[in-house]
Symmetry: C2
Subunit: 428 residues, 2 copies
């Protein structure tokens, strides 16, 4: 493979025209190669005019009337329906609200409810009181689950990935996993693990933060129970974009019948918010998980980001994602050989999300800073991981080539040894 | 008083020049009088350029680097410090995060902790297990508190305003009140009620949704325990702007010493978020109440809204607020006499926020729609309340005159009887 081969790949890439959806002119002009869409997706051009319209016309001129006239009140559900098509959910089952952390709290509470009436009998009758998760799950998931478990008299048990199946029958009420690991890019087999958990009588919560918009997902096919996810990574929703939550209809139907109250029972999750009833009555279905008033500006940007993904098929995105990540792995291992990089991401593309991580002993931080100084933006995750995200909608094959070439230059020149690259920033 | 008197008042108004901070040109051109800043504040012009910059430059070009280079990571605290100056809090004590509903959940949990080590001895030793609030408190507060109380084995007790003091010694652990009532505009005496609650051994949570930016508040002078508030009303932060939470340092210091975990223990409330530690360790002080990643676009707009308030003194805002609301009451009672309006808001300005509400038997909804059709935007709260909000930064005395004149016309013409005005919208 050489640089011309990469240019040829780009010229044959059916997704290539969709890159124009994104605001990359200045980034390209500055010679920046952005491989961090797994942390913050690139700005869709449509968001520029949409946000201007929301600010100046809808807020500025429409004012309070825009809750009706501009459809703000239905925005969270409308975007939810769009995300649903990306994750194998049906219209009305998924809603945009709050942050991933807060939606996980709601999903855990709902899981405890679901386990209570559950697949294998009442919670009270069961000895199961554990939440099982992976040690390397994203920390916020572990923090939220640990606090939830303590409050509920449950226990959070953390294991390594290969141990998960073996521990399922060990008193597990809830299996909580992130579909694609934020550090390694390892992707779980959602369908098989969900089945194994159900066989053991557990409820399954999937965090799709690093997979929604990046890999094909079919929540119904997997028979998942609950899912949450992030708006600002592969959904390109902008910094801190609102998150989403999904529940299988078998659970929301049960909630409807029993009038189940979510733990964060805010007014917009009430059956009739504008009746201003002093007593809470949950809305039906997934609507009950909306809590307070959503941040409309951030919501509007998220819709543009999701629309940009919907312009492609998830199968085409996945095919290119595998090609990009395969190429990156091959090129780094070839052209940066002997420089101490060890592949952390699964070599088997079926077990890989849309990122590639390399470990580099104790020097990973400085190497990443030197790379960023050369215009290759990935990120570093302590203690030793360099992460590179590939968003098929805007990452080109030539970007992969050029990134690895700069990585080679950083290593052969030893420029990463410059002390300024070891200065830690607030956000890494 | 006549129309010229109002024009004269405006010409003498020291706050008049600050109206130019707001994007009201088109609203004025269309003859709209906006008396709903208590529900959604007007767009500050500064937000137009700021949001454009955040979207196009910070997100579009800076991308992930903007968490450091554009200061996104410190934005919630920086805005918190600005809001602090409006409510008598000190730097570092108040943080912007999530929604009002979610912050109330955090504050209630913190209150239960504070009550536990509390003013009168350990929670376990006390029989107090009640959360006391007002029947007419904003519903989301009641819903969140009711669910919280059920989860904790506590009880939410709702009383009418005059009964509050008398019930404090009746097993109350937490007094939860909204400073200015959303329906009536009645303002509680924060200092006296806090003292009475403390005397009874209770912890006090104040919801400042309808008072922050509208009336002077001094949380330290009142010796309050916890406070929350809304960003999109008198703080002009835009639709669904993030909310805030404050805790008295005596409580956060105790939390620090005991390593107290907030109930929503998200990663940005960790002592070292970027260590990606699998185990949660709360950040010190108010920072622990940040949960997930904040919606940066909506945060940036909120800062512009808060800056617009900071351009005036709260005393000047209050003086004009009283003058505007006094005038509105006097004019409606004079010029709309005999049309069935009954003042709901306290006639005593010391007990009034910055809104005026009139009840109108069963016809309030249609009258408000007819008023809106005539360009006077207030809102309706079931079953019978017409609400009018006055934001001294942009509401003029002439607006008050003209609004009442149109109200008179709506009533004398009976145009509100047109059936189209009875069609209920999704959001009222």
């Amino acid at each position: 493979v050489n640089r011309d081969d990469c240019l040829n790949e780009d010229s044959r890439d059916p997704l290539a025209p969709l890159r124009a959806q994104f605001s990359l002119d200045r980034v390209d002009r500055e010679g920046v190669i952005y491989l961090d869409g797994n942390s913050l997706g690139v700005l869709p051009k449509a968001a520029i005019t949409r946000i201007k319209d929301v600010v100046e016309t809808e807020w500025g001129n429409g004012l309070i009337r825009s809750w009706n006239s501009a459809g703000w009140i239905t925005l969270a559900g409308r975007i939810g329906d769009k995300i649903a098509t990306l994750v194998g959910a049906r219209p009305g089952e998924l809603i945009v609200a709050d942050s991933t952390s807060i939606n996980l709290f709601k999903a855990l509470s709902a899981s405890a409810f679901a386990f209570g009436y559950g697949l294998t009998g009442p919670f009270a009758a069961s000895k199961a009181s554990r939440i099982l998760s992976e040690k390397t799950n994203f920390p916020t998931d572990l923090y939220i689950a640990d606090t939830f478990a303590r409050e509920q008299g449950m226990e959070l048990v953390l294991v390594d990935e290969p141990e998960i199946r073996g521990r399922l029958k060990d008193g597990v009420a809830i299996l909580m996993l992130t579909h694609v690991n934020y550090r390694t890019g390892h992707m779980h087999r959602m369908r098989e693990l969900t089945q194994a958990a159900h066989d053991a009588g557990a409820i399954v919560v999937w965090d799709l933060a690093h997979s929604a918009g990046a890999v094909p997902i079919d929540l119904h096919d997997a028979d998942a129970d609950f899912a949450i996810g992030c708006g600002y990574k592969y959904l390109n929703g902008g910094p801190g974009a609102p998150a989403f939550i999904w529940a299988h209809p078998r659970h929301t139907q049960r909630m409807d019948r029993e009038g189940w109250r979510p733990p964060l029972s805010g007014w917009l999750g009430h059956a009739q918010p504008f009746a201003f009833d002093p007593y809470y009555e949950p809305a039906n279905g997934i609507q009950r998980f909306i809590c307070g008033t959503p941040p409309v500006l951030s919501l509007a940007a998220l819709e543009c980001g999701v629309d940009a993904v919907l312009a492609a098929s998830m199968d085409a995105i996945r095919a290119k994602s595998i090609a990009l990540t395969d190429l990156f792995i091959a090129l780094v291992e070839d052209r940066c050989a002997g420089h101490g990089f060890t592949l952390v991401t699964p070599r088997d593309s079926a077990a890989r999300g849309s990122q590639v991580s390399f470990a580099h002993s104790a020097e990973g931080y400085a190497i990443m800073q030197a790379l960023i100084a050369r215009g290759v933006i990935g990120d570093f995750r302590a203690p030793d991981i360099l992460r590179f995200g590939f968003t098929p909608l805007y990452t080109r094959f030539i970007d992969v080539w050029d990134a690895v070439e700069r990585m080679r230059q950083v290593m052969t020149s030893s420029e990463w040894r410059d002390p300024r690259f070891s200065v830690r920033a607030a956000v890494t």
